[in-house]
């Protein structure tokens, strides 16, 4: 489980070299939007050379390939990454139709984080979530709001349906629901508010386009010490009473609450705060 997914351009040596120092749980090396057409070959070659030479246990590495709409680049991307030690690909503009095209192009299956950034896909997400190769969704709010011809707002209400649809579908098959990056790079207060919305709705992680956002994201998606303490008490009482239904501090505790406490403690352990 990753809390933070950091996009870095695949054609910038300094960013590649430092991909493991920003504390992101996962890094998405981009071959798509942040790389100009004339630099895409360079991004592929640079990334391949770098990842063949250096091994990373952390962060998990993904590569955002070009969409199947840009078939020539997409094919070259798939060819260039086939032997690289990556966790998977990030697939832009995913929908059922494009996923089929992708599956017809790859030499062997690969795990996919699909970007949801076209209006149609939000009516197909349940079907996509059931695809065994799809390990998560990533909300692409910039392209989505462009397609809807609306502006992004500070409170993000225009994204409520998309976020919720993504989260519900992801939760149905227990895959990742990764919130969209916050693009106002210097607005820390706005970022914190944006992350709050993502965590409140049920996103499991958040993407970022700037390394300085990673610490905020990790912090928000890491269980707090108060939550850890409360969860420990729930588990302790459950074990002590050998019961899945009891009262604690005047609140009724039952099986879902106990399971949620266990999950929280597992996350806390995974993130090294337990």
């Amino acid at each position: 489980m990753s809390r933070s997914y950091l996009f870095i351009p695949g054609d910038v040596p300094r960013m590649l070299q430092n991909l493991d120092v920003f504390d992101a749980d996962a890094v998405i090396i981009d071959f798509e939007d942040s790389v100009a057409d004339h630099n895409k070959d360079e991004a592929r070659q640079l990334t391949a050379a770098f990842l063949k030479r250096y091994t990373f246990h952390r962060p998990k590495l993904y590569i955002r390939i070009n969409s199947t709409d840009d078939l020539a680049h997409c094919k070259k991307d798939l060819a260039s990454i086939k032997d690289l030690p990556i966790a998977g690909i990030v697939f832009p503009k995913m929908n059922v139709e494009r996923l089929k095209i992708l599956e017809s192009l790859w030499a062997k299956p690969i795990d996919i984080l699909g970007i949801l950034e076209t209006p149609d896909v939000f009516f197909e997400v349940l079907s996509l979530a059931k695809n065994p190769h799809v390990k998560g969704f990533l909300l692409g709010a910039e392209d989505l709001t462009k397609a809807l011809n609306i502006d992004r707002s500070q409170d993000g209400k225009e994204l409520l349906f998309a976020r919720s649809q993504m989260i519900f579908a992801a939760a149905s098959t227990n895959i990742e629901a990764i919130d969209t990056p916050f693009t106002d790079v210097l607005n820390e207060a706005g970022l914190i508010e944006d992350i709050k919305q993502a965590t409140a709705l049920g996103c499991t992680a958040k993407a970022s386009i700037h390394p300085n956002h990673v610490a905020f994201i990790n912090n928000a998606f890491t269980p707090s010490q108060e939550a850890i303490k409360a969860s420990k008490r729930i588990i302790a009482k459950s074990e002590q009473t050998q019961s899945m239904r009891f009262s604690l501090d005047g609140k009724m505790i039952d099986k879902p609450v106990i399971e949620r406490a266990r999950k929280l403690l597992k996350r806390a352990k995974d993130y090294g705060v337990l």
């Binding site: 120092v21 920003f22 210097l186 700037h210 300085n212």
Partner: protein, 465 residues
Amino acid sequence: MKKYTSLDALLEALPLKDGMRLSFHHHLRNGDGIINPILTKIDALGYKDIHLSPSAIFPSYTSIETLLKKEKVASITTNYLNGPVANYLALHGSETCLKMQTHGGRARAIIEGENSIDIAFIAAPTVDKTGAASGLYGPSACGSLGYAMEDVAHAKLKIFVTDHFVDAIENPQIHHQHIDYLLILDSIGDARGIVSGTTTITRDPIGVSIARRAAQLIEDLDIIKPGFSFQSGAGGVSLRVTDYIKAYMQRNAIKAKFFSGGITKYHVEMLEMGLVEKLYDVQCFDLEAIKSLKRNATHHAISAHDYANPNNPRRIIKDLDVVILGATEIDLDFNVNVTTDSFNTIIGGSGGHSDTASDAFVSIIVTPLLKARTSVIKTRVNTITTLGKHVDCLVTERGIAINPRRKDLIAQLKNSRLDIVSIDTLMQRATAYTGHPKETTHKGKKIGVVEDRDGTIIDTLHAKE
């Protein structure tokens, strides 16, 4: 106090002679407007074998290069230099020419007569009729005059040079009994060069990453407690560390006892937020710091002697809990170089680096591990500015190393979640990317020495090849 409005007339009245030692301070930084006209006139008058003791030399101090070219300079003793003078010395300096001191060491050497100054030319932003001076007012205001105070107190002749002569100054920084001559000029400086206005918190992701680790290290060392003391300077990464510490102090309602050294608007902000009791300001880095000295009674301008003279038992930095410092190079014994690059180019100097590292309970070096495709960690630094025995922690984006001498810190950090490794391991992490570049060796002739704050010579400076 004899008053002059002409530099020529003043120089005619002074007992100038060959072999004299002249001093200047650097509070007007690259906007200084007195060093060049004074040295140009002294050159024209034909004096030679001049010993120069400016507290620092900035790129605009070109008259010094002219004197060097004419072989009229017997020696230069300073704390920091870069630009044309530094470049000239690195190419053409003679063995006895350059002595690099620390800020505290300079104060000590002046007070103890080791640097016996014949004439101190003190750029004074405001002087009143009694001969009192202040750096807070006037068109060339620079704030604290901390590095000039020992020159004023101990030089055989003291001369104020000002462009702002007033009837009276309230709370002067220098009192009238010290002064022998006053020279009033149209201008003593260019405000644009006096305060750079570039002291900003870094947003560079690598710098932010380093700063976050440094702040966590300080937190894990349990240093941020009520009444703690801190110095960070004006570097972007150091200021980012300060910003993280500020947030921690706010979250935990902690008030520091003092911040010291060069002061910026960020330190002032924390003073005015009630997060720190006092600022001890030896040098203002921006306009807000200057304004604060006027309005905040707990923002104190202090002398280099009070700041860092190692033989002053009441020096401020003796009580410093933690200092954040930079490094151009650091070696496996934790020696730090901020004086030269690997080609022997002189790019700075200690300033207060060695002073504060020596005195602070914990000294922390913050630097990227990889700089310009090379490792910041060398087997041996090109020049030792600060001895490794005074350097406690190295914080980089790829890990933290603690000096093995500090067993207490290592023990305290045993449960820290920070990535703490040996400095050898950190170097290996760097060379995994950079390979093992051939390290340069000193082959050029000797052009000077690095003197630690107590007068010990700790390294030699060599010419560029």
